[in-house]
């Protein structure tokens, strides 16, 4: 019989090696998957791990997808470190996109050049308000934030659908469910001509730096995390649990909203029903694979972005379904959890407790 026994001390080295081992295991399982599907595994892996980084254009696309993942994951890490389980970042992302679009649609040819900043700020506000709903329900009525935030995702998507199929539909858009393309002033400035990557990626990196300083160099950041590690110690120290709840949810809502605003005012340039592509959920994996550490999350956001792009390429180049993205994301999280379990526990073979087996 196999039994898991907790280790007295977990190795610091394995803490960082575990995500790498998980990645290796994911790659190996990926090879098996490609072989089973009758595809050349080298080509398959190339699509996922080489194509997304082989040119400036590829890098730009990689960063375009990594930006929302990183922004959302940063906010989620603040929640998860405080033991607050915001699972509804997708909804906050959608609301950010909706609010930003609402402002972007107000722009016309005469609007001032910095108009896009207003759009993005509206996005922040949208995500923040949506997360505040969860915070109020948890704070006032002790509602479970996992359920509330998750269910609000679907409410947010319905709001988005109502708007793009109804009042915000482009009158010149051949009845497609989408808004008109935003004015140039309402679009987030690109970093290089010809590439889609925009200033959002700089904001995300700045965000990672700010989160690092907050978590590891300020008393408030320390207080924020103690509630997650030992609630009684936080109470003894006098760190307010309500404050941690509000700070975590409002910040993660704001970063998810920012990501949503940057997405519609950036690469998408209009609001469509296809805005929610699961960044909010994938960011949960980004946060955990990155060990809830800002630097780790920068790396894991790039990795998850590779999976997104690889999945799309696998569809066009190898004729495989795009859901391969989800398979790889899931495999990675699964392998990470397995590696972490082995890090925290040791597996031991124990003989059956003296029970005599009788033969009939």
């Amino acid at each position: 019989m196999l039994r898991l026994e907790p280790r007295a001390q977990t190795s610091r080295w394995w803490r960082y090696a575990s995500p790498l081992l998980a990645l290796l295991a994911t790659v190996l399982l990926g090879v098996l998957l490609f072989v089973a599907l009758g595809k050349d595994p080298v080509r398959g892996l190339g699509v996922f791990f080489w194509e997304p980084i082989k040119s400036a254009y590829a890098w730009s696309e990689l960063l375009v997808k990594a930006t929302p993942l990183l922004l959302i994951a940063l906010g989620l890490a603040l929640c998860f470190r405080a033991n607050i389980w915001n699972i509804g970042a997708e909804g906050q992302f959608v609301m950010g996109a909706v609010f930003a679009s609402g402002v972007a649609l107000l722009a016309d040819a005469q609007s001032a050049p910095g108009f896009w900043i207003l759009c993005v700020l509206a996005g922040v506000l949208g995500g923040l308000c949506w997360a505040a709903l969860t915070a109020v329900l948890r704070d006032r009525f002790n509602a479970n934030e996992i359920l509330v935030s998750l269910m609000l995702v679907y409410v947010a998507v319905q709001c988005l659908n109502y708007l793009v199929y109804g009042p915000w539909k482009d009158p010149m858009g051949y009845n497609f469910p989408q808004t008109k393309t935003f004015e140039a002033v309402a679009q987030v400035p690109k970093l290089f001509t010809g590439l889609r990557v925009n200033v959002g990626v700089l904001l995300a990196l700045l965000g990672a730096g700010v989160l690092w300083m907050f978590l590891f160099r300020t008393r408030a950041g320390f207080a924020q995390q103690v509630g997650g590690m030992a609630p009684d110690a936080a109470r003894y120290a006098g760190f307010s649990a309500r404050r941690a709840l509000w700070l975590a949810l409002l910040t993660s809502g704001a970063t998810a909203g920012l990501a949503g605003g940057l997405e519609v005012a950036g690469p998408l340039r209009q609001l469509t029903p296809y805005v929610p592509v699961g960044y909010g959920f994938a960011a949960i994996i980004v946060a955990f694979v990155g060990r809830l550490h800002p630097v780790g999350m920068v790396l894991s956001a790039l990795l998850m972005s590779m999976f997104y792009i690889g999945g799309e390429l696998a569809q066009s180049r190898l004729g495989l379904p795009r859901s391969l993205t989800g398979v790889f994301q899931g495999l990675l999280l699964f392998c990470l959890l397995a590696c972490d379990t082995l890090m925290h526990y040791r597996v031991r073979w124990v003989g059956m407790p003296s029970r005599t087996v009788r033969s009939h």
Partner: protein, 298 residues
């Protein structure tokens, strides 16, 4: 093995000498000359927070500078609830029912009370007095502010001086002879006694006006226990008001200048060290001090 003996023929001191290799320092008993009242609890009644808790009923208590007041009693008679109300982890007490140097603090949070000089060592070391997964240095931040910037933009941000924090932790480790892998050792990697020495050190080094200690030596080895008691006595001699809550009567008789007994959420009148004898306190632990008072009156 360090020796063999018949425990019935040995004293506490000689037994501990065998166990730790040296005699614990002899406790100095000093004449008791208390100063001004620092902590005052008046008519504190508080219904319990959780259904299995004990309601506090009319608690009266006063601790003066330079004295140690002990609270004896079997655990689960309201000690936990009283300490929550005193530390500020429970802020439901009427404001004036708890006073620190005349300031009503019944509704104040732990931070505010700490700023007024009240420090507290809880009975649970791991998980309440210290965060198990954090280093000793980081655990200082639960109750100490010295390494937090206090002016300028850094003060506004609550910026931490990590070098200072580690230095401070190393200082406590050395001064209180804590056996630990240094300031970066995780709290959970320490033995109970060593972690308790660190926590007691952390609170004593804050130079409190009043220190509350719950079960100072629960599950602590003899050497560490003697050291912790000596530190508490030294703090008393330095003019701090000290309140000790303990289940161990021997310890309380050794430390306290005055002694209360807690039973069923009520607190007995105080006994001076001379009046306190084991059999009397034993009777009081069942809450029978009122009867004794009526007997005396008749």
């Amino acid at each position: 093995m360090t020796g063999e003996c018949n425990p019935r023929k040995e004293t506490n001191a000689s037994l501990s000498q065998l166990m730790i290799g040296s005699q614990p320092p002899e406790l100095q008993v000093r004449a008791h000359t208390p100063g001004a009242e620092v902590l005052r609890v008046g008519g504190l009644s508080l219904p319990a927070l959780d259904p299995f808790g004990v309601d506090l009923q009319g608690i009266d208590l006063s601790v003066r500078a330079g004295e140690i007041v002990g609270i004896a009693g079997v655990s689960g008679n309201g000690q936990r609830e009283l300490l929550f109300a005193l530390s500020g982890e429970d802020t439901r007490a009427p404001a004036a029912s708890i006073q620190i140097e005349g300031q009503p603090v019944g509704r104040r949070h732990p931070n505010t009370r700490r700023a007024l000089g009240l420090h507290f060592v809880p009975e649970e070391r791991l998980g309440r007095g210290a965060v198990p997964s954090l280093s000793l240095a980081q655990n200082l931040l639960l109750t100490r502010q010295e390494a937090v910037a206090d002016h300028g933009w850094r003060g506004w941000m609550g910026w931490l001086d990590l070098a200072r924090l580690r230095e401070q932790a190393a200082d406590i480790i050395e001064r209180y002879r804590v056996k630990a892998g240094g300031p970066d050792a995780a709290a959970r990697s320490l033995s109970g006694g060593n972690l308790q020495k660190f926590i007691v050190g952390r609170e004593i080094e804050a130079a409190p006006r009043v220190l509350i200690v719950s079960q100072p030596t629960w599950g602590v080895d003899v050497g560490a226990a003697a050291q912790i008691r000596a530190a508490i006595l030294a703090l008393r001699d330095a003019g701090c008001a000290v309140l000790v809550v303990s289940e161990e009567l021997d310890e309380l008789l050794e430390l306290s200048d005055r002694l209360h007994v807690m039973a069923h959420g009520r607190l007995s009148p105080s006994l001076s060290r001379g009046e306190a004898d084991v059999s009397r306190i034993g009777v009081w632990m069942s809450g029978l001090w009122q009867q004794e008072a009526t007997h005396a009156a008749t």
